[in-house]
């Protein structure tokens, strides 16, 4: 989009953050979760980061650990009010929530978190346009930060992305000497840069600028190479396998380890299921809220009759995999996963999605090789 790239120096970034704070524009960025994180030699636990609204550059944790929760919370909060109600006379008055969200900007989003936004857009505008989601999306400008790859649990390149993917971003920062190379991908990104032009500097003309451009490309290439070794799957045959192995004994191997807590869904940038509850606030008034929910709990599908179509954790974990890698792709043309690896890192019992996908892909490869897609008996024999 931008005709030529710009540079955001470390000082420029600090100025930008302060300027946004002074203007009252929320700037969401990866920041240290605790005060201790900034200290040199801080323990791994102390170096936790989180996305939050920042007011100064000292809070920023760019290029540090992956934030604990994804960016999702700024578009689909853990709890949000759908409407308030109160009794007036003999009737009930409904008070809709405002959807006139003030403009906010995300600085330094992980590309895997930014990419989740257009993916979830599809379900949020499928049979019903979700006003709250859409209004927050419209009010938000997202600048991602090219990622240097967190660890071996990352697999963005196995789900059609890469560590510097532009998808879902209005602009991108890539680390170079002295700051970040800035590119814009949308009108929104362009407008943001234009509005804060004094924080950005032109790339040095000639060789100096080229050096920085080469540095940026080198950073991205190194990251691409680093993540590519973590996982590679063939989504076509993976889908075929999932489609034909609903009752495969494979699933019974995944359920026992799973606690059924849904931490994976909480930390996931693409999991978007919610529960709707009514809460009284006093006599004659209350609110209807929606709260994060997860298919991993036993009550998610529990019927009022007591019947539960997903009776055990084997079925619930299968649902997690099938929704992300079979149902959503068939319905919306996108895998419901950006390979951030948070589920694997956060899982208290070591359930590992990359490992599971590799396992299924290997089974699918055997099926495909044997020409036995759809023949469950043969597939099971081959797999065991």
């Amino acid at each position: 989009m931008s005709e030529r790239a710009l540079l955001l120096t470390h000082d420029g970034l600090a100025t930008l953050v302060e300027e946004l704070a002074a203007a009252g524009t929320p700037a969401v960025a990866p920041a240290w979760a605790g005060d201790a994180g900034r200290a040199a030699g801080a323990s791994a636990a102390a170096r936790e980061t989180e996305y939050r609204t920042v007011s100064g550059a000292a809070e920023l944790a760019f290029g540090e650990r992956l934030p604990r929760l994804s960016l999702k919370q700024f578009f689909l909060p853990p709890t949000e009010v759908l409407f308030s109600w109160r009794r007036v006379g003999g009737g009930v008055e409904l008070i809709p929530p405002p959807t006139d969200f003030a403009a906010q900007v995300v600085l330094g989003a992980r590309p895997c978190d930014a990419a989740a936004l257009p993916i979830v857009d599809k379900v949020m505008n499928w049979d019903y346009a979700d006003e709250l989601w859409n209004a927050r999306r419209a009010a938000t400008t997202v600048f991602s930060l090219a990622c240097g790859v967190e660890d071996d649990s990352c697999f963005c390149s196995a789900v059609f992305l890469e560590p510097a993917a532009a998808r879902g971003s209005d602009g991108r920062l890539t680390p170079v000497d002295g700051g970040y190379l800035v590119e814009t991908f949308s009108d929104k990104g362009e407008a943001f840069v234009a509005a804060h032009r004094e924080s950005f500097t032109d790339l040095p003309a000639g060789a100096g600028g080229e050096v920085l451009a080469v540095q940026a490309e080198s950073f991205r290439a190194t990251a691409r190479e680093r993540v590519a070794g973590n996982l590679a799957v063939d989504h076509g045959r993976l889908r075929d396998w999932l489609d034909h192995h609903f009752d495969d004994p494979f699933w019974a191997g995944l359920g026992p380890r799973c606690n059924g807590c849904g931490v994976c869904a909480s930390v996931c940038p693409t999991c978007h299921c919610f529960d709707i509850v009514d809460e009284p606030e006093s006599v004659g008034r209350g609110v209807r809220r929606r709260n994060w929910d997860t298919c991993q709990t036993c009550v998610f599908t529990l019927h009022a009759s007591g019947h539960n179509p997903r009776q055990d954790q084997n079925a619930r974990f299968r649902q997690r995999v099938e929704h992300k890698f079979l149902v959503y792709p068939l319905k919306f043309g996108d895998v419901l996963c950006t390979g951030c690896g948070r589920c694997s890192r956060a899982c208290p019992t070591g359930q590992d999605l990359a490992e599971i996908l590799a396992d299924i892909d290997a089974r699918a490869a055997i099926d495909a090789g044997a020409g036995a897609v759809g023949d469950e008996g043969a597939a099971d024999e081959a797999a065991s």
């Binding site: 949000e80 009794r87 006379g89 606030e281 006599v283």
Partner: protein
């Protein structure tokens, strides 16, 4: 569902309770009492025309053993500034041991609440028998004086409002102060929330 039926208050209140000066603050107290001893004792206090403050709303239960800790939590959520739990003296329980079980549970729960920052002064546990109308009046009056000194428990009542200040449209409206009269019928002050809403929430009016 409202667990706590709030007392009527006189005068104007600030929309969020924060303007309630301690001097004119009338605590809202919820009392969970056992049917056999304290409820009868409270009845006796009434029929004996003992003088006591009217801030307490009594919820009668079969036994202190039936009083779950979530009742206390719900009372604070719904606007109580203090809570009384009262039942039969030891060895007097209609069900033999309900009060002994309650004593263990509340011994622990009181410490737990305190550890999470709820001042134990907001809680009163007492044994009041059917013949102790005078003691009930004392328990009520002392509890009210204690809670009056502590002030309104706005920090707890406002917890949900603090969750999502920017995103929560309800935060723009009146928090549940509870002065909606003694009945569950439609409040006469039903329009106060709209009148308190800042401009820009045109949907409310």
């Amino acid at each position: 569902m409202s667990v706590v039926n709030q007392p009527q208050r006189s005068g104007e209140r600030a929309p969020d309770d924060s303007g309630r000066a301690t001097a004119e603050f009338e605590p809202r107290i919820t009392a969970f009492v056992c049917n056999w001893c304290t409820y009868t004792g409270a009845d006796l206090a009434g029929t004996s025309r003992l003088h006591m403050a009217s801030n307490v709303r009594i919820i009668r239960l079969p036994c202190t053993g039936r009083i779950d800790h979530v009742f206390i939590v719900k009372a604070f959520e719904r606007g109580a500034d203090g809570v009384i739990v009262s039942g039969c003296h030891p060895a007097d329980c209609h069900y033999t041991a309900g009060n002994y079980h309650a004593r263990r549970r509340f011994g622990v729960f009181r410490e737990l609440l305190s550890f999470l920052g709820v001042d134990p002064e907001r809680l009163t546990f007492s044994w009041v028998s059917a013949s102790e109308g005078g003691k009930w009046a004392d328990v009520v009056n002392e509890t009210i004086e204690r809670v009056r000194r502590l002030g309104p428990f706005d920090s707890y009542h406002g917890l949900a409002g603090a969750a999502t200040p920017a995103d929560d449209p309800f935060a723009r409206f009146e928090m549940p102060a509870g002065a909606t009269g003694g009945t569950a019928a439609a409040p006469a002050d039903g329009h106060d929330a709209a009148s308190q809403a800042p401009s820009g929430t045109g949907d409310a009016s």
